[in-house]
Amino acid sequence: MLHQFLTLFWPSTVDGLTVGAIYALVALGYTLVYGVLQLINFAHSEVFMVGTFASLFTLHALGVTSALTGLALVGVLVVCALAGMTGSAVTAVILEAVAYRPLRRRTTSRLAALITAIGASFSLQEIFALRYGRDIQTFPRVMQKTVLFHVGSGTVRSDKVLVVATALAMMVILDTFVSRTRLGRGIRATAQDPRTAVLMGVNIDRVIVATFILGGLAAGVAATLYGTFYEVTQYNIGFLIGLKAFTAAVLGGIGNLRGALLGGFSLGLIENYGASLFGAEWMNVVAFVVLVAVLLFRPTGILGEQLARARA
């Protein structure tokens, strides 16, 4: 068992960081919305799903059928990412306007919003299932999966580097946005104390829409990376990844941006280390046992819960 773990240590690390980067990007959406509204946006998994479809259709529209190199590759990836970001952000904004805002005006019950979130999640899934079928849709290979170098016995491939690097860049941009800009300050103020924020002249509705857009943009980037890396999508592709990303957000401290990053990478690594120790069928068990253990000792996650405080 230990021998197996040592043999697989470097491959597990590389793969754990890759999948963790995607978890982290999706986790941002959960964490931002939770930080501001104390709402778990269960439909965020579908925001991600729409992003994968948007970038798949863009690939079809561009007529990409085989792997590209150089500028063409960069161009296609950027266009796909923009399409994924647009698809996801628009979905997030529509969700907010159709499913959450009317409820927020009429009731303060969190449970009502939660049920709506789950309902919206199913609706979006079924709409895509009916429109595009329940079968798996395959992405064309956009990027050659070239082996770049080895870390121990772990293989570092070009697509894995792309996933981790892009995810990190997106995190830095978002983090800077929330901590430096005026709108970011509004988001933090609302997270801290919505009533006082209003008195200070923060437009809450605008802040909330901005929060959904930011989460959507991150999910869109994650969706494009996912499509490039795993090359599949499906109407319910968001379910498992959404669950994992939500777990990552809770693990890192929901409501906390850097917590999402830490949670995502930690979850990816824990899963893969757990799999190498006990076998891949125990992957999720190990991950969730660790989650429960962390929450026992730190109920608010590794970095704590507050979007405003952690960033203050």
């Binding site: 697989l8 999948v19 778990i40 969190r110 082996v147 293989t155 090359e231 799999a275 891949a280 929450l295």
Partner: protein
């Protein structure tokens, strides 16, 4: 970073409340998922058969299996075979009128009991199916209790024959014959020394993989501990791929269905694993090649109790009639679905118009089908039944003949 003073007790209480609330959220979520899965029973019906009350003369037979969902292709293949058999029966104009009812289980064992109940209230006398082993385990006890004849063309779990179900029948070889055949293909035809055996933890996939696991060592092949089970709904198999890569195997055996098999194989090849991929009849579908990509799928083997029917006159007639009716070539288990339906229809035209009469007719007769001559043993299983090998060549799955002849 936190310049502010916090009150630990309050923070802890809030934390606990949130944690508790989160548990409720999770529970509500799970309940909703369960409810949603349970309530979506899209029983697509053929024409007017559901809206019309069963007239005195029209007998109802059913198809039971996945027509939608991730592994629906096998169910669609079978159902089309059944539809063709029924159309031919109706065009002959002999025997009582028969209509077909489709029970779309989505291949989900948790939806199957509800649909089986629906078949009972529809007064269906016999069903072709259930198509998969998992749903068979939950639906067949209900059919047995209600006294509805079931003839499965594809559920190959051996334990299905061991429940003492008297209304249950199967017209294909089970995994007890397919598992050892796959093992001898791996050991003797491919000459493998080290094999990783992976399954999808389903009743069917794990069942057949376990038989391969236990049979291979008797042929002197080492089964490595790497791999084991994967989640068929997941897309990231990197942990399994890493383990298999480190284990350095000649052959990867996978027990499960085509959708996950395709993804798994693709990720294996991307990681540079060159081992030959061998799998079961659940993977014997062109969509496996589509999911893995032609380059990655080429050279892979699958075994199947389903024979190649294109060699006989009756088989060729079936193939052209099928092609004409559905504008595609017959798929995996289309011919078995056709045979299963014909067995039931033969019993009906032989004068058996109740479920129990059909059941005793099936027990006492031999049926010359297009796939094989079917004779049921006391448990309802088919007597005999060979396993065929197929290989992916240039993107299409071609028959190599009986495994027993290949390894000779």
């Amino acid at each position: 970073m936190t310049g502010r003073s916090t009150i630990p007790a309050r923070a802890l209480r809030v934390g606990l409340e949130r944690a508790r609330w989160r548990t409720t959220v999770a529970a509500v979520g799970v309940a909703l998922v369960a409810a949603a899965c349970g309530s979506t029973s899209p029983t697509t019906s053929s024409g007017s058969s559901t809206t019309k009350a069963p007239s005195a003369g029209a007998l109802k037979i059913g198809f039971f299996g996945a027509l939608t969902g991730a592994n629906a292709q096998l169910g669609i293949n079978i159902n089309d075979g059944v539809k063709l058999a029924l159309t031919q029966y109706q065009s002959k104009g002999k025997g009582p009128a028969v209509t077909l009812e489709e029970y779309d289980s989505q291949g989900d064992p948790s939806q199957a009991p509800q649909l089986a109940q629906k078949a009972i209230s529809d007064h269906t006398v016999a069903v072709v199916g259930p198509a998969f082993s998992g749903e068979s385990k939950t639906a067949d006890p209900i059919f047995q209790q209600a006294g509805i004849v079931s003839v499965t063309p594809s559920a190959t779990d051996p334990t299905l024959a061991q429940h003492g179900w008297t209304y249950w029948h199967r017209i294909v070889g089970n995994d007890n014959t397919q598992g050892p055949a796959a093992a001898s293909l791996i050991a003797k035809k491919l000459g493998a020394k080290r094999v990783a055996v992976i399954d999808d933890a389903s009743a069917y996939g794990k069942g057949i993989a376990d038989i391969v696991r236990s049979t291979l060592p008797t042929d002197g092949v080492t089964v490595v501990s790497a791999g084991r089970s994967i989640d068929p709904n997941a897309t990231d198999y990197s942990a399994t791929v890493d383990a298999v890569k480190a284990a350095n195997v000649d052959v990867i055996y996978y027990g499960g269905y085509y959708a996950a098999a395709g993804r798994l194989l693709k990720q294996m090849r991307d990681a540079g694993v060159k081992a030959t991929f061998v799998s079961d009849d659940g993977v014997n579908d062109p969509k496996f090649v589509a999911a893995a990509g032609q380059a990655d799928a080429d050279g892979s083997y699958v075994t199947c109790p389903c024979g190649d029917v294109t060699g006989t006159t009756a088989g060729q007639a079936f193939t052209s009639a099928y092609q004409a009716a559905f504008h595609v070539a017959p798929g995996t288990y289309s011919a078995e679905g056709y045979d299963a339906a014909n067995i039931i229809l033969t019993a009906i035209s032989g004068g058996s118009t109740t479920a129990s009469a059909i059941n005793s007719y099936l027990a006492s007769h031999t049926f010359p089908g297009i796939t094989k001559t079917v004779k049921f043993d006391a448990s309802g299983d088919i007597s005999g039944g060979g396993i065929y090998a197929y290989q992916v060549k240039a993107g299409s799955i071609v028959s190599l003949g009986l495994v027993s002849q290949l390894v000779g």
